[in-house]
């Protein structure tokens, strides 16, 4: 470090016009593993960009910042593995003084300005960059979660579970249930269900009364597919 200071002293003797320079160290949090050699810290201002590649000690060092570099910069870290927070960086005054602050996109200041000293500044990592989409592979659980499969399973449960439930029912209740099932339009198992299917066109045309038509319908639902023939015979 002494030699570095002596360099500064020496340079200022050699070049009287040269102003004192400072260096800026940006550190990567210690939990981050070594970043790839393409990682670069970039300072941007109109007409100019400054770049510092990643060093062996996982940091970025901008050397020789003089007051000729004064201005408000944007600091970005171009890294393949991680996204870093965006910062603004002000270089001003003699020395010069370097101040860092968090910025939103567009360079709008969001945090307090912090003066950066010799010890440098630790950058914050936002997230790791994930490049690949995981392909949804075959999983039996996913298959079971499919609504179609769920409907099928419920259907199967009814088909196999209902007879068992019916067998275990109280005989009175069973009779009542069967009665209800007979009345219900949806019931009938393999037999015909729709009363309209049994509508006797010929009988109706022949001027049968509404009552007898109803009667034939009742019969029809009770006796199944043979009813149409009966009705016609009757007419």
């Amino acid at each position: 470090m002494n030699s570095f200071l002596s360099l500064l002293a020496l340079l200022s003797i050699l070049f009287p016009t040269l102003l004192t320079a400072t260096s800026l160290t940006l550190r990567i949090p210690p939990h981050i593993p070594a970043l790839p050699p393409s990682t670069t810290a970039i300072l941007t201002i109109t007409g100019r960009t400054l770049r510092a590649p990643i060093t062996r000690s996982n940091s970025f060092i901008f050397n020789n910042i003089t007051s000729a570099d004064a201005g408000e910069y944007l600091l970005d870290i171009a890294c393949k593995d991680y996204d870093f927070m965006s910062y603004g960086l002000d270089v001003k005054g003699e020395g010069p003084v370097v101040e860092l602050y968090r910025v939103g996109r567009g360079g709008i200041q969001q945090g307090e300005k912090m003066r950066v000293g010799k010890e440098g500044f630790e950058l914050r990592v936002v997230r790791a960059r994930e490049y690949y989409e995981a392909r949804s592979g075959f999983s039996p659980m996913d298959l079971l979660k499919n609504p179609m499969i769920l409907i099928a399973i419920v259907g199967l449960a009814f088909v196999f579970g209902m007879p068992y439930l019916l067998d275990n029912m109280d005989p009175e209740m069973k009779a009542e249930f069967e009665e209800q099932q007979k009345k219900s339009i949806l019931s009938g198992g393999a037999g015909t269900t729709n009363p309209l299917q049994n509508f006797d066109m010929a009988a109706w045309m022949a001027g049968k009364t509404a009552g007898s038509a109803e009667q034939s319908q009742d019969e029809g639902s009770a006796t199944g597919s043979g009813s149409g023939v009966k009705a016609r015979r009757r007419g």
């Binding site: 570095f4 941007t44 060093t55 392909r135 009938g188």
Partner: protein
Amino acid sequence: MRLSVPILLPSVAVLFASIGHAIFADEAYQTDYHLPLLGLPQAHTTLFHRPSAASKASLLYTLSDRLVLGAVNPKDGAVVWRQQLANQAENHTASGLLKAPERGNTLISAFNGKIQTWDATDGRLVWEWQSRGRIRSIETAASSEDEKDILALSHEGADAIIRRLAAGTGYLLWEYVNASGDTPYSLVSYKDSVFYLSLHSALLKGFKIKVTELDASTGKQIGQPTVLNSDSEVTSEDSILHVGANSDVPIIIWTDKGLKTLKINIIGTKQITTVNIPSSQGDLAEEIVVHASRSSTALPHFLIHYKAANSHWGEVYHIDAAKSTAKKAFDLPLLGGKGAFSASSQGPDVFFTRHTAFENILVSSAAPNVLNSWNVRPKSHGGMLDPQDITHAASEVIARAGSTYAVRSALALPSGDWELIRNGNPSWVRPEGLAGMTAAAFVGIAKQEDLAEELAAESMRNPLAAYLHRVTRHVRDLQYLPDWSGALPKRLLGSLIGDKASTYDQSLRRDGFGFHKIVLIATDRGRLAALDAGNQGKVIWNIQAVSLKAEETWDVLDIEVEEGTALIRAKGGEFLRVVVNTGTILQYQPGAMIKSLKTFVSVLDSSGKKVLIPVNDNGCLGDLPKADFGHGTIVVTEGEDSVVRGWGLTKGTNPKLIWRFMPASGERVESVNVRPSYDPVASIGKALGDRNVLYKYLNPNLLLITAIGVEISAATFYILDGTSGSVIYSVTHPGGDTRQPIVSTMSENWFAYSLYSESTAVTQDVTQIDGQKLKGYQLVVSELYESLYPNDRGSLGSSTNFSTVYPTAADEDDSLASPHVISQTYLIPGPISSMSVTSTLQGITTRSLLCVVPDLHALISISKAFLDPRRPVGRDPSASEMEEGLFRYSPLLGFEPKWILSHKRDVISISNVITSPSLLESTSLVFAFGNLDLFGSRVSPIGAFDILGNGFSKLQLVLTVVALGVGTTLVTPFVRRKQIDGTWKA
């Protein structure tokens, strides 16, 4: 309609997820290809070196002509790490310096005024030091420690400054300023001294070599400088052949201009050994190269390599340190062709390896007998059949017990290929000659027409002959049956298990998906090559198309693809016609025949024939050939005077100047963009969520002109009608930084551009937030519509005619028919250095913007759906907007990792992206190239909807069908019984 909203919501979510096209882990490295290049390796900066003292294997390091420092694994030729020492903007004429200290774990590079040390294992920076002048020489200080200090000689103004920089930190230890006004040449470190070599102008002509000795620990001058009487020979720096920096005894060797004598001096003494250059068997040496070991522990032996026109030979010298003389030990006999020598050492032993077109010969520096020699098969040399010359070589020799030797040599060939030979066997070839690509084009592979021709022949004959022809054809086809049926089980199994590699077609044939295309590339070194885009970018052929002098470059303007051939047009009217499949040159016209001629453009005349129109540098057209252009054709030229001109061609030989476009004062034209030549439009309108239609402004003659401020920071974008020259739309960005990349592109009815902008006083009130400047990189996307209102075609609606000459005025009332432009700006995290648009067969697929992000070393694909300027601002989208796929506008647009086409690959220095449609509507082929790398991939902007991906498993499908079949069979008796029971019970 009430019901449709909740149903649509999930579908919008699905769409949203599919907008960001992503790369699947199993497709990465399969569908894309990348050639990470370094540039041509240089003779003095190419070496085998152990990355650290503990490491057993060495890496191959080089600092190339394109100032890329890289480490290559000698086993497979893969790049371990790369660093660019210079920005693309910096000139590349100066060459870089490279030093690899023995037993150290760093490499030291110097370019212009910057010294950088790099970790040899992973390529990360250790420290850097910036000098105010150019670094002329770097040297490692002699020290017993593994980490050695750096000595650097820099030329600052009239002074030569020598500095000692501490190892590991780069801190300055001492500085010595020499203000004698001599030209600084080199540094040599020897024991506790540092010798500073400079060229002192002699009285009459020539230079005397002046040697100044410094104390290595303090930097103080020791005694008076020694001046060597070299003024009769040394006329320039090129006369000095060698400064033996690191061998045990430091030497300097120089020669005269006519290559008559060699002078050898041991640095620090005044004694000069003179050697007359022999002419071996009558051949005269044209070039002399000295090879010596870099190791400080090796014997002080060196080899002088004489290159004649068509032969080469060598002489081995030993230095007698006690007598301060050099003595010839033995000759290496003359052999035909241009060969290369390389020196390497193991402990004190020095080995010289000789490489010719046919063999590798290993000799020890101590005796002339051949230790080993290998026949190099002719298949080496970059796959060329004819034996080639070798430009230079670097070798590593390992002596094993029983006097057997293992030799690895990296040969640089004149073709630009870099080849590694291990014990005479070719190991790998890197096509470094492909670096510096200036133009590229996709070429479709022609259909196999054989079958079609035979079928046509059959239909022409009488039925009997046609029948016989068909039978013979089928019998002939039978010969392929055994092969086909033999490969069938493997193919079936492969397609079931999903083994893609075994089913992959390696031959250069058109495939069903149109992925198999040839990419033609032209480089600035005059090379032309063809790559197979369907086969991981394999080089099909690679030729030297034009011969260039050392400093010349080949400026290819464009490559035009015709039936089976390609026309490559370069600056100055030079053109070349080449057969795409083989690389045979059919026609060549050298350039600069007519002064001020820039190029030719081809225009179709009224009969559909191609006519070449000459364009001059000043933007005017040259003499036209006799042709009839019918109703007229407009040629738009961009002159050097920053004026864009539109020329009308009709009959006769005189082109008419129809319009001129000059940007506002204080601006100059930066670039002119047109819509891509293949830009199909699937729909002339955009269907809105409420079933109305916004009509797109589709003008095939649109020009997008970028003009930038000459002195102030500003950028203006103009949309012009190319036929009339009228400005249709323009937008200015005050504060647009003209030193950052400003790029733009245009397609269909939209255009996009990107720039870095900082607000200035002009727009202060708008962009300042709490007194802060708004700054950053922006991406602006604008869409052009015929009218602001849906179902309205603006002034075109009522008119029956449309004039291309007056596109902005309607025919009757002269009301302006300029399009309605909707724009939106996004803030992006970094610069974009190149922009282009995907292209698909029908143009139905939503386009994607392909942007080169130089900071991330990546190529990114941003879907147009994300960049829709109609995204609602400051509110959530309404139901109908959601149906359109619009979502709430957010000014921030990150470079999502999943959008990065080059994913984890490190793609550096690409500057151009070209696209070509495949036969699948969903997919576009992409090829990116530039100063260094080339990268190719396929992109599906909204997912590959028309092809089964790798995620589709045929095995799973078969298993599912089988399981269903088994299930059905098992359940059938139950169901049947239940049905019968049901019938009976009822």
